[in-house]
Symmetry: C2
Subunit: 327 residues, 2 copies
Amino acid sequence: MREFEFIGRIKTAAKNTRNPVIRSIGDDCAILPYTKQYDMIITTDSFCEGVHFSREYFRPYEIGAHAFAASLSDICAMGGRPLYALVNISFPKKIKQKYMDTLYQGILDYAGNYSTDIIGGDTTAAPVIMATITVIGEVEKGRALRRDKARPGDMVFVTGTLGDSHAGLKILSKKTRSGLSATEYIPVKKHLVPQPAYMEGRMLLDSGMVNACMDVSDGIASDLARICEESSTGAEIYVDKLPVSFSASKTAAQYGEKVSDYALYGGEDFVLLFTVAAKNAKKMADYMEKNSLTVFEAGRITAKKGIKLVKNGKKTIETGKKVWNHF
Amino acid sequence: MREFEFIGRIKTAAKNTRNPVIRSIGDDCAILPYTKQYDMIITTDSFCEGVHFSREYFRPYEIGAHAFAASLSDICAMGGRPLYALVNISFPKKIKQKYMDTLYQGILDYAGNYSTDIIGGDTTAAPVIMATITVIGEVEKGRALRRDKARPGDMVFVTGTLGDSHAGLKILSKKTRSGLSATEYIPVKKHLVPQPAYMEGRMLLDSGMVNACMDVSDGIASDLARICEESSTGAEIYVDKLPVSFSASKTAAQYGEKVSDYALYGGEDFVLLFTVAAKNAKKMADYMEKNSLTVFEAGRITAKKGIKLVKNGKKTIETGKKVWNHF
């Protein structure tokens, strides 16, 4: 929890802005005034060897692609469109040129896939590989999907299955990549090279029905808590209903773990987590389905603070069990 | 030279932009369309323990201040005004909370001094301290001071003495901070907490007479070569005329080194290096002096490619001797 305490301090210290800022620290992106039609959104994330990934199972191309995808996911979480990126990379001195080029190609290809221009950056030596990717995007003026607009009574949804990335990490920590079955390969691939929910974000914004939204990067339990903190609400998570894949279930069973723990606490799924007024829930789900996108019910927003887990009809207080902590 | 080769590859790969970009990789900042009156400029730099600094002589506040100043310097080099910053910091797990807070305070104070709002960032663990600071600023539309506008016959100037930061580093590598004389303390302080040339950049832009400009971060020899590369010119550096401080001269003499090497190859002075048509040189110098700013002649731009060192009336080819290399 050290990281979040520190961010809290920064947030307080940086509260009084001198220049026009629509939204500062506390959301997936900062929001700035931009053109007549668009607000600018900007986000930055560091992807660090030994903390977020290991070279033992990440190939160089995947490091680049993953780092870019993780930053891009914050743009998607606001319903935005990426425009530009800045790329800071550190390499140990002994890393070969070809390795660096391949890693960078992962970034370039992903940036290209999402029509994002790399306009700057910095390279430096360091004891470990670290990629810090800053993405600048735009979103229709005043319409960015934010964390602070959830309302008591809202239904909570996610745009995809939860826990796959953690299942992939688990498999990678136990097995070599060459011997993986198809069932194992799916979550492994999701862990290595996640696909940001770009279309999902754009369609959620377009639906006009979403109250609050963010991407799931640390597990729904802690991420929903952040929506609640920003919105001054609480929430219940319907543990029995959380969407999990066959692969994630199988992996959890194989290692004697609970797939619901993967879903609640597993990091880096990068699906979107959002809330909708109960009266709009069906309409929104239909709208998404019409566009070949799926949403899954995951809980509801409450006036009473705190996160409760609802399981077999019983409610327990979420205590912050962690299977993955970045800091 | 490995860093610059790598940046060259990135530059080529990232050349075809999909979104409006006024200037991309290759200058102090990228330039983007922004408002009716202003272009947006954006830069990012990483400041890494073991590469750019050591905790043996940098105090935490100074690490933060230095990291911010180095990024801000790129905004100054374009004649711009900073608006927003994103702060990514990595800390080893054993670093104490107070140390982190003090480092962050160095960033906050410097940001505050230059009316810059911190609107985002990321913290993560890493084996070493690394601060990546991204600064977004604005500059009067179409008027950013760039590297690619030097013309043969231009005179080359700098806005302050060269080699002080390197002298400071030399002293720090030989002595403890507590026993420094006043003469030693000046370059040491310049190395630890550089002052970005904010007023200089604004006034150079205001003068309307500057052709090309950048900040001196790696020494005038290699930085002027970058102006020449971007402008498709060459240059002569007047080695005898380079402005050096009494402190830098004394330090070089003490350690049996040449102060001209400090001036030519020493990094992180963060003064501005710029070119002006010969016919405007006196007018520009008068303009700066009227505003209590000084400029020093340092060379001239030539049509013939390559950097030549002019010393005692003799010309030699600059061969890229280095006293400081980041990568």
